[in-house]
Amino acid sequence: MKPNLGVDIAGVHFKNPVIPASGVYGFGKEYESLYPISRLGGISCKGTTLYPREGNPPPRIAETPSGVLNSIGLQNPGIDYFIEHELSYLKDKDTAIIANIAGSTVEETVEAVRRLENTIVDMIELNISCPNVKEGGVAFGVSCDGAAGITRAVRRATTKPLMVKLSPNVTDITSIAKSVEAEGADAISLINTLLGMRIDINTRRPILRNNVGGLSGPAVFPIALRMVWQVANAVKIPVVGMGGIATWDDAVEMMMAGASAVQVGAILFSNPLAPIEIIDGIEKYMIDNDIKTIDKIVGTVKPWRG
């Protein structure tokens, strides 16, 4: 019998636990020439704000050992364009749709979320952790008060399942996780990118025009895994894990650490087929080990004691 890869998170069904991460997959169009979107558990759409944003000037991408820095700066067409054009495109794609929402102020963020109320969006992922825009995002994500405040406001503004995405650039990720849980988040996703930098020694200029950017890719995997493990042990709501996942065994490792599902981001730059290979790999792993359902994997790591 085939194993069942389906997972339910905050009432949303994902046919498998593999979701392209926000920002690396656009709104789902660009990889359709390789495989149908319907293979995916869900899609986390590009971070969207109330108003359109231009993002940061280029260069926006710099390579690092086993990773990449980006400073896109939340370039996006705004929530109304998203609803009209992107959502209508995703309508019949038979995959769960996660809207990734950010904003410079609480009010702006709340208004963007509100406009999604009567749309086909399955879940809202509140991004309080984008390190690439000055006024927004990350400021909320690095203090418990900030994280709690925006979660509270957004929670009131929507009846949709609410997942809050945390920043790893903090001293204590568990206290932030607990704050957003206390304010009614239905799930937590982590990690967003770690703040990093590269310099071109020939020009003596930072490679990124924004000087600094967010690090992701396999390099950050052990940090992400540790944080997912800590957060999964600190809260009762489900956790969606990401950060450096490249292969099916990374995904299994992340689920054992406590993630109910995983998102895959930067690895797409190396291997655009990664999400499919990961889904197939998890399925084969389950068959080989006679595991029937994903919950037999999630959170099953046995930490050493004493």
Binding site: G23, V24, Y25, G26, K29, E30, Y31, S33, L34, K46, E54, G55, P57, P58, P59, R60, I61, A62, E63, T64, P65, S66, G67, V68, N70, I72, Q75, I207, G217, P218, A266, L268, F269, S270, N271, P272, L273
Partner: protein
């Protein structure tokens, strides 16, 4: 957008100038749909990001494409190590190629350094109706001049240090040529200052001009918004993305 991702055999490889490598890849699916000016995104062993390299020639009947690239850093050094018979992992074809005018139209092809390879497929298309002006830093970097000639293009080679061909930039021979001839289009690829100069000259002479741009890339397919580039459309500035909206732009769209 229609592209594939996979590993294909390298069927030929040689070094054709200092640090410049020339490869043929057997990939019928790609050869079949590729057009001049598009690029391929190559995995370099041990590096996280792929490297974008223009398609230099397309051999539909052989099911092959050709690329020519320079070793610039660690990734291209690794790609240059792939031997004949081994596989190369690519996403291709990507981006928008050059507009090809009605047959009989006359074209000027301007290549600067490794901006030269993407001009070669145009030379195959325009043949005797094309004039190629290709510039390099110095003699040991000169490449592909015979290939252009074989296609029927007339060719002028320039070097900045005068070690071979015209001593100086491609712009002077371009101006000379335009005094006598009246081509329908100029295609250009090369360093930004060269493109800026070529665009000015094209404007002065009122000739349509298409240029191919470079930017650091993540996904290569328009999904990550990494390769943003300021462009102008209908008098308004806005961002486009080199991998998807480019790499080829009309000269009046670009801001250099």
């Amino acid at each position: 957008m229609n592209y594939i991702c996979g590993a294909f055999k390298v069927t030929d490889k040689k070094q054709i100038a200092k640090d410049i490598y020339d490869m043929r890849i057997h990939t019928p699916e790609v050869a079949n749909i590729a057009s001049a000016g598009q690029f391929i995104h190559i995995k370099a062993d041990g590096f996280f990001l792929r490297r974008p390299i223009s398609i230099c020639e397309i051999y539909k009947s052989d099911g092959e494409i050709r690329i020519v690239f320079e070793i610039r850093g660690k990734g291209t050094r690794e790609i240059a190590k792939i031997e004949i018979g081994e596989d190369i992992d690519i996403m291709a074809p990507l981006g928008n190629g050059f507009d090809i005018l009605a047959s009989g139209s006359k074209a000027i092809l301007i290549g600067g350094g490794v901006g030269t390879p993407p001009m070669l497929e145009l030379s195959r298309i325009y043949g005797e109706n094309s004039h190629a002006i290709i510039g390099f830093r110095t003699a040991d970097k000169v490449m592909l001049s015979y290939d252009f000639a074989k296609n029927g293009s007339t060719v002028q080679v320039c070097t900045e240090d005068g070690t071979t061909g015209h001593h100086g930039f491609v712009t002077e021979p371009l101006k000379e040529y335009l005094k006598q001839e009246n081509p329908n289009i100029i295609y250009a690829c090369g360093p930004r200052p060269m493109l800026a100069a070529v665009i000015d000259i094209a404007k002065e002479y009122g000739i349509r001009c298409q240029v191919s741009l470079e930017e650091r890339m993540g996904c290569g397919v328009g999904a990550c918004l990494g390769c943003a580039c300021r462009t102008v459309k209908d008098g308004e500035e806005h961002l486009t993305h080199v991998c998807k909206d480019g790499p080829v732009y009309e000269s009046d769209e670009v801001i250099l």
